[in-house]
Amino acid sequence: MIRLRDIAKVYPMGNRELEVLRGVNLHVKQGEMVAIMGPSGSGKTTMLNLIGCLDVPTSGSYYLENREVSCLSRGELAQVRANKIGFIFQSYNLLPQLSALANVELGMKYAGGIDSEKAMTALARVGLSGRANHKPSELSGGEQQRVSIARALVKNPPLILADEPTGNLDSHTSEEIMAMLTTLHNEQNNTLVMITHEADIAHYCQHIIHFKDGQIEWEEAV
């Protein structure tokens, strides 16, 4: 599903260069649920952004579903994001002016078009059918994250990426969200890559990657 070869990412910092990723090699199989752990600033988000085609590596190659995407144009990357990838962010990133339903619909807008019935179904699956017309500001953090999960899943993409999805939530809500993600992942059989700080959250996953200083320190399969 995902294959990274010698991926490096360098940010220019004034006259010096900041090496954020240095030679990352990774293989994620289709249908896996992967957790990435590691200290803050170790380059986890940078790597997830590369996997999510939001950014391109400075060197190295990246194959997604056996297709090299590290050499695609910006327009082609946008197409890959639209059709293959669903994002879940730590800070939810819902559009404040739109209702929960419209936010979910936005997940389909650039991937073939809006289907309101499907969006309602997705909201129902995260248990929010009663909140379809609520604005994000009228929802709790956990509910907002559920809307954003519905938004990521509504187009049924092969790959779901989540950057600290429970980072802003209390432990009880975190467990609810993780249970929901696990259930949905098992139902839809897509690949899920998730960054997290908490070991008990990571243990929902079969494949845990430990990151340090822009490199994979060690991997474990549960």
Partner: protein, 415 residues
């Protein structure tokens, strides 16, 4: 929702999120478009007014006057030499076709006295054809007849204003007035036509040309022909003026024995020519007024750009989210362009309504006391709307490009 409506609905949603800001943006366009509509309606109104004035005088009219001759030898100025005669007029009516009426006339300034009232008037000596040439109708009495003319009758037909001034309260027809040293009977009063830039027939005092020549001036040329100051001709149909002007010019040149190199000793002007000149001038004036108003539209457009730039910065995170969800650059482009075009189109619509209202008020109230007709025509409205959408697209271009080119990661991190 229909597919093509969706971007419009989204743009509307975007504009509604910031009601005050959107309204202020729209206001700039409203003022610009309203100014264009109002000013151009004034221009069109002035043009229509002048043309209808000419129409009432008869747009088939051709007038011939003696040419201005510029005296050499120091004295600045021009004077006209009397070169036109009754006999010229007779020759025209006999020899030139496509002519309905040929009306030679002369004038003389005289004092008119009735009881204690007296006015200084320009007395015009006319033939019966004068009525047809200038589209005149009598409100009371009759116009000067063939018989009056042949007999040199001491009768007059006066304009409505003259009748008012001299005979307030008295029926003018049948009254006798003193004109210079003669006593003359009023035989008719002309229907009022209002004033025009060509002078008003309401101020006219008409007597038979024969009477004028016998009573006040008996000018003749060296060959014994009777001098007149002007010859008016009515052409049978619109569009024949050029033909008649050519024929008359040839005829008069041969009658006045002008050699082929010599300038005409008369000047000949057709209303048709005048109408086209006036149409051209007032069209230019209208465009000029529109161009001045368009400057305010331009300022409105810059306002749109300003607001859209602010809006792009403010919605950086939204743009990042949309890009993460797979929006291509052109999706972001069209989102912002649709929004700015919608804003300025809405402004354009309101502006048309305001401008139309303003032009109605102007035509009702007038400007600085003088009457003013205004004409709002469909072409101006369509143009103004098209221009306002164009302005939205033009000035939305830069902000939309900025939005489309945002780096998704940086946009997502933007607070």
């Amino acid at each position: 929702m229909k597919k093509w409506l969706e971007p419009l609905a989204n743009a509307w949603q975007g504009a509604r999120t910031h009601k005050l800001r959107s309204s202020l943006t729209i206001l700039g366009i409203v003022i610009g478009v309203a100014a264009v509509i109002a000013l151009m309606s004034i221009g069109r109104g002035v043009q229509a007014g002048i043309l209808s004035n000419i129409e009432s005088l008869g747009s088939n009219l051709i007038t011939i006057t003696p040419a201005m001759s510029y005296e050499r030898g120091g004295v600045m100025g021009a004077s006209s030499v009397a070169t036109l005669t009754l006999e010229d007029a007779a020759a025209i009516s006999e020899q030139v076709s496509r002519v309905i009426a040929v009306a030679p006339y002369s004038s003389s300034n005289q004092q008119l006295v009735y009881g204690s009232e007296n006015v200084n008037a320009q007395i015009i000596g006319v033939t019966p054809e004068y009525q047809a040439a200038y589209n005149l109708e009598t409100a009371e009495g009759a116009f000067i007849s063939e018989y009056n003319y042949d007999s040199g009758a001491k009768v007059t037909v006066i304009g409505a204003s003259v009748a008012e001034e001299l005979f307030s309260g008295v029926d003018p027809v049948g009254q006798k007035v003193r004109m210079g040293t003669s006593i003359i009977t009023v035989m008719g009063v002309l229907e009022s036509k209002g004033s025009s830039m060509m002078g008003s027939t309401d101020d006219a005092v008409l007597i038979p040309l024969s009477t004028l020549q016998q009573t006040f001036s008996q000018q003749r040329t060296s060959t014994g022909e009777h001098i007149v100051s002007t010859i008016a001709i009515t052409v049978s149909e619109q569009g024949q003026a050029d033909y008649v002007v050519g024929e008359v010019t040839d005829l008069l040149r041969s009658r006045h024995r002008l050699a082929s190199g010599e300038d005409d000793d008369f000047s000949i002007r057709s209303m048709e020519e005048l109408v086209s000149t006036i149409t051209e001038i007032s069209g230019t004036l209208t465009l000029f007024l529109g161009a001045i108003a368009a400057i305010s539209l331009l300022v409105g457009g810059i306002g749109v750009m300003n607001i859209m730039l602010v809006s792009v910065v403010e919605r950086t995170r939204e743009i990042g989210i949309r890009k993460a969800l797979g929006a291509r650059e052109r999706d972001i482009w069209s989102q912002f362009l649709t929004e700015s075009a919608l804003l300025s189109f809405t402004g354009g619509l309101i502006g048309v309504a305001v401008g139309w209202g303003a032009s109605k008020i102007i035509s009702g109230v007038g400007i600085m006391g003088s009457e003013m007709t205004t004409v709002v025509s469909a072409d101006i409205v369509i143009l103004a709307l098209a221009v306002s959408v164009g302005i939205g697209l033009l000035f939305g271009f830069l902000p939309a490009r900025r939005a489309a080119q945002l780096n998704p990661i940086e946009a997502l991190r933007y607070e």
